[in-house]
């Protein structure tokens, strides 16, 4: 399928020139088209931030919600209609900061959604403050003496919590990112893809060349079904691993656990109230 099917017409993109979001937007379109998905069957839910603007620039169903809340909203969409392909898209501040609690519990809940986190290690929309993944010592307009808090390691966190799919990609590697996003969408269950990208305006540390120098691709010797091996890769102190760190294809999804989908995946809006059953049920209260 041609990725042009996901092109939006007559839009003005408000990202800075050179922003890592541009190549990622194309990569995402290509990944969706490559999976033969129709725009009408795809829902992109986002929060607030530069990354969260993504669904405005891509032709599909979208819900641009509140800062930090894309994950629970996407969970609700998927639970109401399991036939939809649902993505929750946002930045590192959106997903790991404001939405941190939802991130943790989505891993436990395991809804069949794909969580793309554009991780540029800085706040863009609010102009350059530290994010939960900013490196120690980074000076910002607020962290004037340098970031004093340890950055979180989203991959290690996800793997230790038992995420059924945990991967990392880099926007500088379009092909690899496409492949990883496609695997994440194909995966049944909650799939985290932490996508490294530079912020050309506010992050002078983690630049394209910094990412080039500080990442490596997991090769065929990595066993993504081995959780400890995945954790070792996630905690590599030298370089950031790219690719699928961990996958458990057999974990039960949230929707699998819902009694009402045991017999049919009919979306909730198509189901009528069983009034006869209700009348009988009320009669039992005598």
């Amino acid at each position: 399928m041609d990725h042009k099917i996901f092109d939006m017409e007559d839009i003005e993109i408000t990202w800075c020139p050179g922003c890592g979001n541009y190549p990622l937007l194309d990569t995402l379109k290509g990944a969706l088209a490559g999976l033969e998905l129709e725009p009408r069957d795809v829902v992109i839910v986002s929060g607030i931030g530069q990354a969260a603007k993504t669904p405005h620039y891509l032709r599909c169903n979208m819900f641009n919600g509140l800062h930090g809340r894309a994950i629970p909203l996407a969970t609700g969409v998927k639970a109401a209609n399991p036939g939809l392909t649902v993505l929750a898209v946002g930045g590192d501040g959106d997903m790991y900061g404001e939405g941190g609690n939802h991130f943790i519990h989505a891993i436990r809940r395991n809804p069949d959604i794909t969580n793309l986190v554009h991780d540029n290690m800085v706040y863009g929309l609010t102009k350059g403050q530290a994010s939960p993944t900013s490196p120690m010592g980074m000076v910002t307009p607020v962290q004037v003496h340098g970031v004093a808090h340890e950055p979180i390691n989203p991959l290690a966190l996800a793997i230790t919590l038992g995420a059924s799919f945990a991967a990392r990609a880099f926007t500088g590697d379009g092909e690899g990112t496409t492949r990883t996003i496609q695997e994440a969408i194909r995966h049944r269950g909650y799939a985290l893809v932490d996508i490294l990208q530079p912020c050309v305006t506010y992050n002078r540390i983690n630049t394209y060349s910094w990412f080039e120098d500080n990442t490596y691709h997991l090769d065929g010797s990595h066993d993504p079904t081995d959780r400890m091996e995945a954790l070792r890769a996630a905690m590599n102190p030298k370089k950031l691993a790219l690719g699928i760190l961990y996958q458990d294809a057999g974990r039960r999804t949230m929707e699998d656990g819902l009694a009402l989908y045991a017999e049919s995946r009919e979306p909730l809006h198509r189901r009528a109230v069983d009034r006869e059953e209700l009348v009988k049920h009320i009669g039992e209260r005598k």
Binding site: I11, P39, R40, D41, V43, V45, I48, K53, P55, H56, R59, C60, N61, M62, F63, N64, G65, L66, G68, R69, I71, P72, L73, A74, T75, G76, V77, K78, A79, A80, N81, G83, L84, N101, H102, I104, H105, L258, A259, L260, P267, L268, H269, R271, A272, V273, D274, R275, E277, L278, V279, H281, I282, G283, R285, K286
Partner: protein, 572 residues
Amino acid sequence: MSGRISRGGKDVTIVVGGQAGQGIQTIEFILTRVLKRSGYHVFATKEYMSRIRGGSNSTLIRVGAKRAPANVDRIDMLIPLDSGALAHLAGRISNKTLIIGEKKTLTTECDCVDIPFTAIAEEAGGKIYANTVAIGVLCGILEADLPVLEGYLKEHFGRKGEEVVARNVKAAEAGYKTGGDMRSSGRVAFSIDKDPQVTEDLLISGAEAVSLGAISGGCRFISSYPMSPGTAILTYLSTHDEKFGIVAEQAEDEIAAVNMAIGASYAGARAMVTTSGGGFALMEEGVSLAGITETPLVIHLGQRPGPATGMATRTEQADLDLALYAGHGEFPRVIYAPGRTEDAFTLTHRAFNVADRYQVPVFVLTDQYFLDSYYSIPSLEADSLINEDYLTETGGDYRRYRLTEDGISPRGIPGFGSGLVAVDSHEHTENGHITEEIDVRNLMMEKRMGKMESIIADSVPPVLMGPEDYRVLVIGWGSNFHIISEAVQLLRKDDIACLHFSQVFPLPPETSGFLDQADVTVVVENNFGGQFARLLRAYGGFEVSHHILQYDGRPFCSELLARKILKIARRQ
């Protein structure tokens, strides 16, 4: 014994008091059902402390020939399961209160009819059956049907095996005989008429009525975080999720809960959340999101006293302002506050239709007193209610926020039709995409707020009880329906009526007609500030003349309220 009481024809108020874990709830549960099946109207309400064991709790059961589902202060018969109950209820015990207890277990002196519950229970098979003996005694005094009592015990304890059933029946029979003897010896004399029709009535609590109303209204999705007293609805829908095809999800916090519900609603499921004040405070950003995205959402807010944690298991009506002003920015909303169990069912059902009809958040505002109380009602009209369908199959040129005459855009959902559904928490174009254009902003604000006109015309009118040519009008909302109406009935004045609002926002168009007619207006509310009176002033331009406010965490008592109303009426 000074406690000989004789009440003819009306109703008897029984209070069972004791520690959490002593079995008060089981006594209440069995007794109310047996008395109802014996032909008595029953009403039960409980007050309890926020703890799992110990403390001092009580349940009040009114048994009568007529339906009297209102909280009262007086106690006709008190069953203290421990001494703490006597101290806890001291202020309500009068010389007319008959105390039936077991002196051996009561460490404090009291003037009570001594019934050896434990000894009778031990004879039946063990002291664990003491509460069943107490049930038997009360049934004997009140002339409940013994076969009904036996039958109910078999039903209730059936799954615990024959021996448990047999011992319970034996304990109940022994208690029944003791109670009967008290009656025949003249130590107690109650004569309440029975109404055979009551036996077929339903016993439904406020929480169950809200839950059943949600099921009837087509609720398919509920996500919430446990918080008393709102949890009961989550529990009910979770228990019956398979039977009625409902997704019931306990969220990690209220913020997640409300966003999940909005997501489900966006995808076409009728969705709700249930919570209490503190939890709802966390949901506010979600209410605002539902407002701008025009996503239907039903919010059950079971009030309890605040601020902050307040009194977790007590009651209050102090979150009206919170519901009214919840969420940043301006957007339309509807707030229902049912006063009768029947209304909680129909209004919760209605909330789902109205949320879909106008694409707005709709509140069902209750409180602990309302949710935890139950009484006998003839029926709920579950078979005649309709779920209106407002979903549109989208075409290729679908625009989620198409501007229309009445501000209501045809509502599409993803995956239903060939169109795309884009919604945005930002101000947005008709296509649902972010904009800051002045003209579009103005049009969209006017579109959303313009829906209020249709919503007001589609209001649930207040209910007037009492004389139509009233001089004094007692005004209430929410859970105070029966308490106020009984208080006014007790006064038997031909110039005092009461008016109850089950839709508190927007004010129904009939409001001013009712209020203008009165010389004296008294608003009765369980809060400090007179929030509904303020709402009447702000949105109805009406200044009420008097308030009766209570903010101690307890519901009003009808007879005490009657005195307060009379005092005001006499002065004027």
